[in-house]
Symmetry: C2
C-alpha cells in the first residue's frame, strides 16, 4: 500500500473519521483508524461500536492531490497517526505500508515508522438494506437535533430517555426528547420524499456528534434506516449509529393545550435574567428560581436565593402578560437550555397551575417547536 496526499486536505477527512473514535473502548482495534486504498479512492473509517464514520477521499478531489501507487489497507493507532500528520513539516506526505504492516510516513526530511495492524480484524460496518430514500436538508437536520438533544437524559438508568425519538409519518417528521423533567418537541415537513412510516430512537450522543459534523451545509442528508441502525449520508461521509430499543413513552398527552397565564418576552433578555438568578440558586439546596406574574400590576418578577450567600430579585422586561396571577418555581438550568434553543427571537410562556408543566413556544406559534418544563414544588 502506498499513496501520497496533501496534508491539510487529508487531515480534514481523518478528523471526520476520528470523531467516532474513543480512547475508552473495550475493543483494542477500535482505538485505530482504518485506511483502505482502492484504485481510485482512500476510505478512512473510525468507530466506537455505537457509531461508525466512513469518509471517502477520491482522486477526483483535486485539492487533496491524492496519488495512488499501490492499493491496500491497514489499521493505524488513531491518536498518534493524527498527531503525526498534524505536525509534519511539508504540505504533502507519502505513506507506505510494508507486508508486516509497518507504516512509513515521509514528509520533507522527517520520516516516521509506526506499527500498523492488519485490517482484516477490523469490524465490518453495519449492512443497511434500505428500500426507501429519505432526504432532509443538512441545516434543518442540525436545527432539529440541536433543539431537542438538550432535553435528553444524561443518565443511563433509563437508556430510552437518552435518545431522540424520531417518527416519520409520510412527509411529517417529529422529533421528541424528554428526561422526564422537561421535554422538547420539534416538527418539520420533509419535501420531495418517498413516502413511508418510521419510528426510531437514536442515541442523543450520536446525534450531537452528527450535528457538529453538519455545520452550516444546506445540502441534503440522506437517511437509511434498518432494524437496529440508522445511516446518514452526506457528501463524502457515511455516519452510522445504532438505534436504542424499547417502546418510547407516549409524550403527546403531556403537553397542555390551554393556558391561564401567558408571558410574551424576548428569549435572550429572559435568558440573561435567568442566568443572574441562577448565580444564587446554584448555591441553594435545590437550585430553584421563583417567578411571580401579576397581570393586575402588570409586573413579572424573578427571584433567586441562597441562604448562605444572599438573594437576587429582578423585574422582567416583558412585552405582554395576560391571565391569572401566578407564582411558580422551576430549575433555571432547564429554562436556560430551553431559551438557548430559541436564540434571539420572542417567545411565549404558557402556564396553567403552579404545579403543572408549562410550555415555551415561539411568539408566532405554528406548532412546530415546543418546549415543556415541569415546575418544582417548594415548601
Amino acid at each position: 500500500m502506498k499513496f501520497s496526499v496533501h496534508r491539510a486536505a487529508f487531515l480534514q477527512y481523518l478528523n471526520t473519521a476520528q470523531t467516532a473514535i474513543s480512547g475508552k473502548t473495550t475493543l483494542e482495534i477500535l482505538t485505530g483508524v482504518k485506511l483502505n486504498l482502492s484504485a481510485d479512492a482512500l476510505t478512512i473509517t473510525g468507530s466506537n461500536s455505537d457509531i461508525s464514520i466512513e469518509t471517502i477521499l477520491s482522486i477526483a478531489d483535486e485539492d487533496a492531490q491524492l496519488t495512488i501507487e499501490e492499493p491496500g489497507s491497514v489499521v493505524l493507532p488513531a491518536r498518534f497517526f493524527g498527531e503525526i500528520v498534524k505536525r509534519l513539516p511539508e504540505d504533502t506526505f507519502t505513506l507506505t505500508v510494508n507486508d508486516r504492516f509497518q507504516t512509513t510516513i515521509v514528509s520533507g526530511s522527517s520520516e516516521f515508522t509506526i506499527n500498523g495492524v492488519e485490517s482484516e480484524a477490523y469490524p465490518h460496518l453495519p449492512e443497511i438494506d434500505s428500500k426507501d430514500q429519505l432526504k432532509i436538508p443538512g441545516d434543518l437536520l442540525k436545527q432539529i437535533i440541536d433543539q431537542t438533544v438538550i432535553a435528553t437524559s444524561k443518565q443511563e438508568n433509563r437508556p430510552m430517555l437518552t435518545g431522540i425519538h424520531l417518527t416519520i409519518n409520510e412527509s411529517e417528521l417529529t422529533a421528541v426528547a424528554t428526561d422526564s423533567h422537561r421535554l422538547s418537541q420539534r416538527k418539520a415537513t420533509l419535501e420531495n420524499n418517498a413516502t413511508g412510516n418510521y419510528d426510531i430512537l437514536v442515541p442523543g450522543d450520536s446525534l450531537s456528534k452528527l450535528s457538529k459534523m453538519l455545520g452550516e451545509t444546506q445540502e441534503d442528508v440522506e437517511l437509511q434506516i434498518s432494524e437496529n441502525q440508522v445511516l446518514f449520508i452526506l457528501d463524502h461521509t457515511s455516519f452510522y449509529s445504532r438505534l436504542l430499543e424499547g417502546q418510547y413513552p407516549n409524550t403527546t398527552q403531556l403537553i397542555p393545550n390551554s393556558a391561564s397565564t401567558t408571558v410574551e418576552i424576548d428569549a435572550h433578555s429572559l435568558l440573561r435574567s435567568i442566568e443572574r438568578a441562577s448565580l444564587l440558586s446554584h448555591e441553594g439546596h435545590n437550585n430553584v428560581v421563583r417567578l411571580v406574574v401579576d397581570p393586575a400590576a402588570n409586573t413579572a418578577t424573578i427571584f433567586g436565593n441562597s441562604p448562605e450567600i444572599g438573594n437576587v430579585e429582578e423585574v422582567l422586561d416583558f412585552n405582554q402578560i395576560e391571565g391569572d396571577e401566578l407564582e411558580i418555581s422551576f430549575n433555571p438550568d432547564y429554562m436556560k437550555d430551553a431559551l438557548h434553543a430559541f436564540g434571539q427571537s420572542e417567545v411565549k410562556l404558557n402556564f396553567t397551575l403552579p404545579l403543572r408543566p408549562f410550555t415555551i413556544v415561539p411568539s408566532e406559534d405554528d406548532g412546530s417547536f415546543i418546549q415543556l418544563i415541569t415546575p418544582v414544588r417548594t415548601a
Copy 2:
C-alpha cells in the same frame, strides 16, 4: 458605604485583585475580596497569603465614573461578587453596604443582596520599609520572568528550587532558576537606579502571576524589597509576594565555558523537529530523544523512539555545525521549553561531552541569556 461605578472599568480592577485569590485557602476570609472606600478612591484587595494584590480605583479615572456617596469597607465573597458584576444588565451599578454588612448591588431592574463581612478581620498587607528605589521597565521584567520561570522546579520537596534567584549588584540584575536538570539564566542592566545590592529568592508562581499582569507595558515597575517580602508597584496596582528562605545553590560553576561541538540553527525550526520527535519519545519509558551530530558528513539528525508505537528520524535543517562528532540524548520537553523562550531567533547549541550539560544561547551571544540542559544517560 455606598458608591456607583462603571461596570466594565470596575471589573478590570476587580479581576486584577482576584488574581491573588484562590478557592483553596485555609483562611476563610481570604476567599473574599476586600473593598475599602475612602473619600477619593476605592481600594480592592485580594490575597492568598503567598501573594497579595491591591488595586486603587481613583475618582480621577474618568472612564470608571466612580461616584462616592459614603466611605466604608467590606469583605465580599470574591467568586460570587465577580460573577454577579460580570452579568449585571446595565453599564453602571450602585453598591450599598448596610451596618450589618449586607451588601446590595443594583443595576437596572436587577437587585442583588449578598452577605458581606466586616473588613477588620482581613489580614493587613505586609509593611515594607524600603530605603532604595529600584525601577525596571515592565516589558523587560516580563521577559526576564518568562525566560527563567520555565526552569523552576514544580516539586515542593526542595522549596528553594521553586523560586527564581534574583541578585542585583549595583546596576546589574541576574535572574537564575534551576530544577537541577536544567537551568536558565538571564542578565540585564538596570538604568537610572539608585545603587544597592540585593539577593532574593522569589517563588516562581508569584512571578508567573506578575508576568501575566504586566502585559506589554513599557512603563517602569518599582521594586521594594524587605527581609521576607518583595513589592512590585505598577500603575494603580501593588503586587506583594513573600520570599523563599535559604541559601540558593551557587550556579555559576555549572555553566561550561567551552564547547567541542556547536550547532547553529533556527530556534523555531528546531522546536518543530523536537515536537515531532517527542510524539514518540513521550510514549517510551524514559522520554528521551537522541541527537547525532556528524560534522564530517555535515549532518545533524534527531531520533525519537517508542518500542510499542514506532520511531521517527529527522535530518535537521541547520545553518552551521562545527567540531567533534557527537551523540547525545536528552529530555525533549526541557528542550521545547528552552526553545520557546528564544522565539523566532537563531540559536547556538554548545556541547562538550555526551554526559556533560550543554547550553543554548542566542547566535549573537552577548552573555545575557543562557539555558543549560543536563543530558540523559541511555543504556
